[in-house]
Structures are given as C-alpha cells and as structure tokens.
Symmetry: C2
Subunit: 395 residues, 2 copies
C-alpha cells in the first residue's frame, strides 16, 4: 500500500501523499541502503528538525518503563485493567460519557460510522472524497463497512456550512477531520467549523470528529480538547501521534454508542488478548506529551517562516498546526539524497522523507515536536541552504 | 461478552463455556475481591497446576528482554521489520508460501474465509455451529464478513467425511478446528481427519485449518506442524497460546491468498502502526516454547488420570491434548472458593476458574504447561482431595 502515491489537485497545485495507513517515515525514492543510512545517521544526529529520533526496541522499552505508569501490577486481558483505565481517562478528558480503545484508526472510524448508521437506519455518511477512509484504507468504508459515502463537496477544501447541511439531510453522520491531513493539515477557522457542525446538527445527522490530531487542532484554536469535543457526538483520537504511544486509537461518545462499538470491536477482531504496552504508552503520553503540543505549535510558525526564507514553501498558511507540508523545487530524490548527506556530515537532520509532487518538485511533512525546539530560525535557514545547494533546483 | 455463558449439549451432557474472545482466566462466579485474592495467591503459590503464574507488566517486560530476539534494533512500522521476519518464519515452519500477522484470531479467520469466498465466487463456507466464529464473535461472520455458514452436521461432534463432502459442494471453504475447543478440545483420529479433508477437497472447497492450538493437535497426532498444515490451503495460528506471546495471530497460505489477506488486514484495521512486543514474544515462543508442547501433552495424561482418581472427570477421553475440560460435581462457586482457600493456605494452586454447568456441577479448563510438570499424580490426588473436601459434592 505504501508503494503507490495518492494524487490530488489541491488549491495550490497537485499534492501526492505516499502514506499508507496513517503515515510513513520513508519515501518511495529511498533505496533499502539509503533507509539504513538514514536510520544510522538519524540515530547519530545531534539535531533533528522533524519528528523524533528513531529508537530501537530496547530504547522504546526503556522509555516505557521510565514513564509515570506503575508497571508492577496486572496489565490488561480482553480490554480490562489498564486498558479500561485509559478509556475512562480519555472519556473524562474529553468530557464524554465513555470511550473505547481500538488498535487502529481505520477500525475506530468504521465502527463509529457503522454505529451511527445502525442508529439512524441509513448507510449514508457524509465524508470528504480526500478523507483517509476513502484514500488509504482499501475501500473498507464500502467494501467492509457497507456504508454509502455522500460528499458535501468534491473540491479540495472544507465544505461550507451550507454544503454540509445539504449533504447531511438524510445521512446518519457527518465526518469532520481537523486538521485535514490530505490538504496538508489545513484547519478551518473556529467559527467556520462551528457553523458547519451546526448545519450538520440542524439536519439531524450525528457529528463525528476525526481527531487523529485533535490536540494539534485544539492548540491552533487555543481551545481545550473538551471544548472541541463538546461539538461532536463521537470523537476518534489517534494515540500514537501527539501522545506518542506505540499504536492504538480511541473512540469516545455516549454510553449507547460505546456499548455498540464494543460489540463491533469484537466483530472487527479488535479485542486483543493483551495490548498494555500500547496502552501504557498512551497513558504516559497523556501525562507528559500532549500538554506540550501548544509549545510545538508556536514553534511550528518559527520553523515555517525560516523554511520560506530559503525557498521551501510551507502549506497551508496560517493558522498552521504543528504538522504541515513543505514544497521544494528540487526533485524528491535530490532532496532526500541531500538531507541524508548533510545529516551524515554535520549531525543536523533537516526536514526528511520527501516525495515526488505531480508536475515536478517535492513535498515533505514537517512534524514539530521536542527536537524541533532546539532549532532557531537561523539554524533552519543555515542547514536549509546547505541542503538546497546540494539538491539544486531550490534557491 | 464474558458475562454470558454459551451453552450447548455435548455428547456427555451440557457444557457451558463462559469465555469471550479466545479464553478467559476468570469466571462469572468470582467477585472482584476474589479475583484480587486469586491474583495474589497465584503469585505467591509455589505450585500451579493449570496455566502459568500471572505476571505483572514489569515481569512480562523482563521476560521479553530475556528472550532470544535481539532488541537493539528497529521494531516494526505498518507490518515491516520484525513483523515481516515473524511472518516469513511461520511460513517456513508450516511449509507454506507466505504468512501474515494479525492482531486477533477473529480477524484472521474472517479474512481467510472472505478471501476464499472472493476466489470461489460464493459466500458459502462450511462451519460447525459450535465453532468460535459462530459462538464467540458477536455474529461477525454474517454481520460483518457477510458470509453464509453451511453446516456439515449440527451434532456436537466432528462431521464425518461423508457429511463434510456433502456440505462442501458449492462452498468456498471448509473450516476444520483441531482440537475443537467447544467440544472440550476433542480431536479426531488422524485418519478420520485426513478423510474429512479429502472429502472437502474432492468437492473443490478450500481447506481452512483453525489451528489456534495447532501445536497441541500435532503433538497428539505425533506429527510435525508442517505435516498437518500440508493438508490445508490456509492455516490460522494463535500466537498467545502455545507460543505465549502477548497477543496476535497468523494466517498462512499461498501467495495470492496472503496478498488478498494483506488488503483485508488494512480494511479490518489490523495493520497496526507498531506491534513488536507481541511479535517479539511470538518469535521467542517459537524458539523456546512450542518444542515443549509434546512434553506438556504427555504429562496431560498423568494429570487427567489423577483427576479422575479423585472424582473429577476429564473430557474428552484419549487422544487428549494438553488442554482439556474437567467436570466436578460440586458447584462452580464452591469449587472456586475451595481452590482459592487451598492456594492461600498451602501454596498449591489446584485447577482453577470453574464455571457452572447446566444442570449442576462445574467445569474447568486444564491447561498443561511448564508449571504442571512439577505435579506428580500423587500431588494432584492429594491437593484434589483437599479441594474436594472443602467444596463438598465431590468424593
């Protein structure tokens, strides 16, 4: 799945996302040898602009045991123990009655939509044609979940409140993805978002929030996650993005929804015998990481400005979440080669993982986290020029 | 799901299995307080008859790092790395072209059957009405996988070759579960099994092996797992039973089947961002545990005979896998209370986790593993009499 890119025309031109599942750290243009070199260079690098230093399994275990969770006790069996603790904690955090852990976002969102479809007695759900469920999940939403996608707009942008309301009539649910991954993490203004949600409600459709990056959206809007969740009937959260768990997702909603979802979790094969390493990592992330997202978001603006200074264009423009796309004029192969060599020779790992853009040029995904805080705007410009000189094609 | 028992009339009377998912270590009759007492008593016990000592998360991590797998390297992302290693190893072990890791058996078997249904162009699959997919998975095989179960027999026994052949005509696949969990782990003689498989093949149906406990079956038949797998077109293995991993399953088959299954794994939401703790545990289990199953199986006969001596009836009779059911005349509540008290006072944990049998009496599941090897027949009789005296109702 990761071997083929998904192409679409964005407002600003065509964008290719080579990601499978939720995201991928490597690109199609990198050979196995280059991947190994990048792994080695990233582990030796003293500065990493995007994402985090790759860890061995031993190091991940050390991080897990260094966390705040008390591990000298029973883990989880078929969803009890620490998994139930995490679910209750997420429900409380979002101000929702209940929550359910699930192994993937793919499963979480299908289950949420099937539950709304069951309740409403219709298979119609309003999705954007560029939503993850339609781009990256092998048509599961139709082939497996047997749902009927309805589009409020087919343009590469957020649907307006008017479009949303029209599509929502007779639909079980409307999906709102904030920020919108396939549009380079574009996020609507809070007022526009509220208006679109209001239009869905007025049409009697359930409001489902694709909050894979809910903390990122909340930080841009300067709202608490509970304030954002309060607009929704169901919320999906990814636990391996901002919280940094090994894997996993959560679905929050009212008690009836979560009871139904628990049955569907069994049906989908999502009730694992034991999953506590992912669960404990999520608990640790809620304790220690998600409160840092506003700081990461603030620094994303510094990074974006400096990238722009060296001819690498960040998109979307403000408001900009901590993850955003960057466009360079050089080819993806040249950019990846240049980043690898600069990392190996200087220990500064610049923005990496470039993929080819349709019609030339390259795109990469900037993920602002703790390592990015060590980069000043001057650092970004200096190392960016080194990379651009090596790659050619970018001033 | 674990709160309701599933009842059926076996050859020898009615049997209730209170398990959700694949199995449960606790019974409906135990209060939360009793469960905590049993956890504490089991951890202090110096002899454990069935199953293994419950481990804290810290202890599980220690076991993981003490294993043979080299953890000073990259784990897995979206199915690559150590997960792919495990898949290749399982394929080689079974002598099959390819294999795929999946988070649960529920997902593995639905996917296998859907793939066969796609290939054959029919939704008809031959299952036993007491198969796990129909008893313990919230009707997923129809409600989610959209398959049409066909029964070779509705009796609580293996279907004959003749019955199998008749049902298999026009069906995509026939499922063979060895040993058959809901019949108390009954296993057909090898010749009968081969004859039934041959009848399915003669009817042009694919042969799917539910090998959740394939090692257990192979040990009874005194065959290599590859020799058993050679009879099948697809094999499902559970990785947290004999191999002792934290969770996980595998599906093995030809390259086309596994390619299709890989697509369905994405659709079902089974492509986890990272799952290496479960994967590394499975690799360790293949290295260190599965070769011990024949020894466990041999000792299961010793244990069963001694249980019979104190009026607790093992079923099925020989050939008996290392897991088998045991029936007592006392109530489940009395048996569980007696086992708990004897464990607390003597440090010998007798067969535990009894559940109520329809019409009186109790059943429990004996799992013979390393701790059982420390019990002689005399030990079983001596502690069994202590328990029976306390529980009453059993001589």
């Amino acid at each position: 799945m990761r071997s083929r890119g998904v192409w679409f025309a964005s407002r600003r031109g065509s964008v290719a996302t080579p990601r499978g599942g939720q995201s991928a750290s490597m690109t199609d243009t990198a050979s196995t040898d280059d991947r190994r070199r990048m792994w080695d260079a990233s582990r030796r690098a003293h500065h990493l602009l995007s994402g985090e230093r790759p860890l061995t399994m031993t190091e991940q275990l050390e991080r897990l045991t260094a966390g705040s969770a008390d591990l000298d006790r029973r883990g989880d069996v078929y969803g009890d123990g620490v998994m139930r603790e995490l679910e209750e904690r997420i429900a409380a955090m979002l101000g929702m009655p209940d929550a359910l852990w699930l192994p993937t976002g793919t499963m979480a969102q299908q289950i949420a939509l099937r539950c709304w479809a069951e309740r409403a007695g219709t298979t119609r759900v309003v999705l954007h044609p560029r939503h993850h469920t339609l781009l990256n999940e092998e048509d599961a939403v139709t082939a497996l979940a047997a749902l009927t996608p309805v589009f409020a707009t087919e343009e590469p942008r957020y649907a307006t409140a008017e479009e949303t309301g029209a599509a929502a009539r007779g639909a079980a649910a409307v999906v709102f993805e904030v920020p919108f991954q396939d549009l380079g993490y574009e996020l609507p203004p809070w007022a526009d978002f509220r208006a679109a949600v209001g239009a869905a409600r007025a049409a009697d459709a359930a409001v489902h929030l694709d909050g894979a990056r809910l903390w990122d959206a909340a930080a841009v809007w300067r709202r608490d996650t509970a304030e954002v969740a309060a607009l929704a009937d169901s919320v999906y959260l990814s636990l391996y993005k901002a919280p940094g768990a090994m894997s996993g997702a959560a679905l929050a909603g009212d008690a009836e929804l979560i009871d139904r979802a628990r049955t569907w979790r069994i049906r989908y094969g999502g009730q694992l015998f034991s999953a506590w390493p992912a669960v404990v990592g999520a608990l640790r992330g809620l304790d220690e990481r998600v409160s840092r997202v506003p700081m990461w978001t603030a620094h994303a603006g510094v990074i974006a400005g400096a990238l722009d200074d060296v001819g690498m264009r960040p998109l979307p423009s403000a408001p900009r979440p901590r993850e955003f796309f960057v466009r360079a004029e050089a080819s993806a192969a040249d950019m990846n080669r240049a980043v690898l060599e600069v990392t190996e020779t200087t220990g500064w790992r610049f923005l990496h993982g470039w993929w080819a853009e349709e019609g030339g040029g390259a795109l990469a995904e900037m993920t602002t986290a703790d390592p990015a805080l060590d980069w000043t705007a001057d650092d970004v410009r200096r190392v960016g020029r080194l990379v651009a000189d090596r790659a050619g094609g970018t001033r």
